[in-house]
């Protein structure tokens, strides 16, 4: 497989993902200022409000309660930074799911109206993937 071909394939995959899947990073972005629980691969947990995040899932939390992996020691931190690669999972408020879905529908409808002709020329079955094009480049920071 030639490198150029695989880069194109990557683009195509991203477009397909953007069609109707909720991206984990969209959910995380929508969770700014919301409470969340983060467990690290070493079992430590962090409870706090999300201040900021990036495409590597590096995050900053504020007003944090840190718990060790045994669950018997606690620390209170004013703010902390967590490297994305050390995270096992994040728990976020249930209400975010509907918020993100609504936002995606709105963005898709807006894009369909504004740039519909471009979308149908893109060979992606004209379902409005490009409407979220502003978010696509962020997917390439693998």
């Amino acid at each position: 497989m030639k490198p150029l071909g695989s880069v194109r394939l990557g683009w195509l995959c991203c477009l397909l993902f953007a069609l109707d899947t909720m991206l984990p990073l969209s959910l995380l972005n929508a969770a700014q200022n919301k409470p969340m629980l983060v467990e690290l691969k070493n079992g430590e947990t962090f409870n706090g409000h999300l201040v900021n995040c990036d495409n590597f899932m590096n995050i900053t939390l504020r007003e944090v309660y840190q718990t060790n992996s045994e669950g018997d020691r606690f620390w209170k931190l004013k703010e902390c930074y967590i490297r994305g690669s050390t995270i096992k999972y994040l728990r976020v408020p249930d209400a975010l799911l509907d918020a993100v879905k609504e936002e995606q529908n709105r963005a898709r409808d807006a894009g369909r109206g504004a740039r519909g002709s471009f979308v149908s020329g893109g060979g992606n079955r004209g379902r409005g993937a490009i409407s979220r094009g502003s978010r696509l480049p962020s997917l390439f920071c693998v």
């Binding site: 497989m1 490198p3 695989s6 990557g10 693998v142």
Partner: protein, 101 residues
């Protein structure tokens, strides 16, 4: 994405692609073994299996209600292939050609 640029990585990927719709047994790094029909594979060697069966089901009832699954390539220890569907001569030749000198 590394596999795209690695000749041997894409070779194994190709071998797996030729084995779609064959029965394989995947042993995972958590010691679970799963038999099923190979439905698809991607460049990370992630695997989709259909009509799965877990070996020693009495001990591992966790997947009773699971009929098809996605297995992450990075947690696969072994894949047992149907030997009649692997052209080992072709594979050896391709490996020699693809190996760095």
């Amino acid at each position: 994405m590394r596999h795209n640029f690695c000749p041997l990585g894409s070779l194994i990927f190709s071998v797996f692609k030729t084995l779609t719709d064959q029965q394989v047994t995947v042993e995972l790094k958590n010691d679970l073994s799963i038999t099923g029909v190979l439905k698809s594979v991607d460049q990370f060697l992630n695997i989709r299996l259909d009509s799965i069966k877990v070996l020693d089901e009495a001990r591992h009832p966790h997947m009773m209600a699971v009929k098809n699954c996605f297995i992450r390539g990075s947690v696969v220890r072994y894949v047992q292939l149907p030997s009649e569907h692997v052209d080992t001569q072709l594979l050896e030749d391709a490996t020699r050609r693809g190996a760095p000198t």
